[in-house]
Symmetry: C2
Subunit: 229 residues, 2 copies
Amino acid sequence: MHMHTAIRAASFTQPPTQAKNLPLSNGRASADVIDLMGTVIPFARNTEVYGENEPAEYLYKVISGTVRTYKVLVDGRRQIGAFHVCGDVFGFETDAEHTFSAEAITDCKIAVIKRSALMAVAARDNEVARHMWALTARELQRVQAHMLLLIQSAQERVVTFLLEMAERVSVRGTVELTMTRQDIADYLGLTIETVSRTLTHLEKTAAIEVSGSRRIVLRNQSALNRLNA
Amino acid sequence: MHMHTAIRAASFTQPPTQAKNLPLSNGRASADVIDLMGTVIPFARNTEVYGENEPAEYLYKVISGTVRTYKVLVDGRRQIGAFHVCGDVFGFETDAEHTFSAEAITDCKIAVIKRSALMAVAARDNEVARHMWALTARELQRVQAHMLLLIQSAQERVVTFLLEMAERVSVRGTVELTMTRQDIADYLGLTIETVSRTLTHLEKTAAIEVSGSRRIVLRNQSALNRLNA
DNA sequence: CGTGATCTTGAGGGAATTCAATGTCGGTGG
DNA sequence: CCACCGACATTGAATTCCCTCAAGATCACG
């Protein structure tokens, strides 16, 4: 049970400083509508991007930094639903209201687009509509994989997390973690102690190497893949 | 660890006995395209509707009976992703291939529609496209809720399951379960023994009443809701 | 160099699993 | 009709894995 210390980001109902609302060029426009139509907004570390139960008025795309989406359960525990990094679109959990909250883990730049604007485009352009559908379907797959993760053993969860991060943000087998142990624990449905112990154990068995607690080198990928089985 | 005994249903690449492929009437057609365009096929108890890794060529809607979707993990455990009853649409886990398998728990009637046909309609009719998107979004929400369930205690999981089933299929506070304890356990990420013990405990505390192991009366809904918290 | 936040490590306890045995139900054939 | 059978479910005892509680260690930053 830990504190919830996010700071509310400046509302962006006020005109953003660097709006770049371009009209959507017709033609093959589906790929990155959010880039074209979105407004890039900076979020400082630990500020809220949106809150659970707020109307889901916008869709978001990470330009830089890391975002966590999470839900605080009635018993006070926090479940992190996802870590989003550069290129990830998030915020379409539901149609009416967000079911999760979102916070910047690091300083971030996030492209924001009004859902209604997107729907308007989707109504005209079927390719956009299908692209949005595809994004939702992919998100569905991601959550299903995450669900399967939560019934695994602690070691399997940690290993899967490392491999997942490695795939997304590794540079020559090294992962620079932007989130705390607590974030990882809340993502994996474990305690911070169990995460720590598991990492120590993986280091002792020479599967990984940890320096400074945030930098992790995957020493023995095949061993990890085996543990992941 | 239990056996996987589903029988392969007769392939429906052969012409179905009772095809009723109606042309889609234009106008407000989004609501039940699958009903209008689908082909109803019967599935016997414990037969496979589709298998994991098969091309996701069809979408499905339960007309009668109960369906389970599941995935068998490498260690042999089975995770049930969902129970689908009358009215539920399922089979859109992904775009290319099914990530889960589906089996009839009871004898079922299931409306089947070719995904490509649906896409063709969606390309013409934006309302249909948005309806499909909305269905996917709802499925996403359901899976997220299921994910949150898996980090709860055994008692909370069982209670949540009972309340969920009550909401969907209860008749005057009585739930007629169509699935086995093993199915429930695999849905909740528990063992069959834990599910059994929890139900016994709930019965002893007068929250529920069990007769014949498949009929469950919710005696004290508010107590259950409290346990659910 | 001190201070708070973050992380690690240890000891003990508890919830759920595993292993094993018994009990119940529905169907089938004598 | 009832006895038997197999599938399904319950119950008990021992174990395991992870959590809780508690104490240090390390890191970032003024």
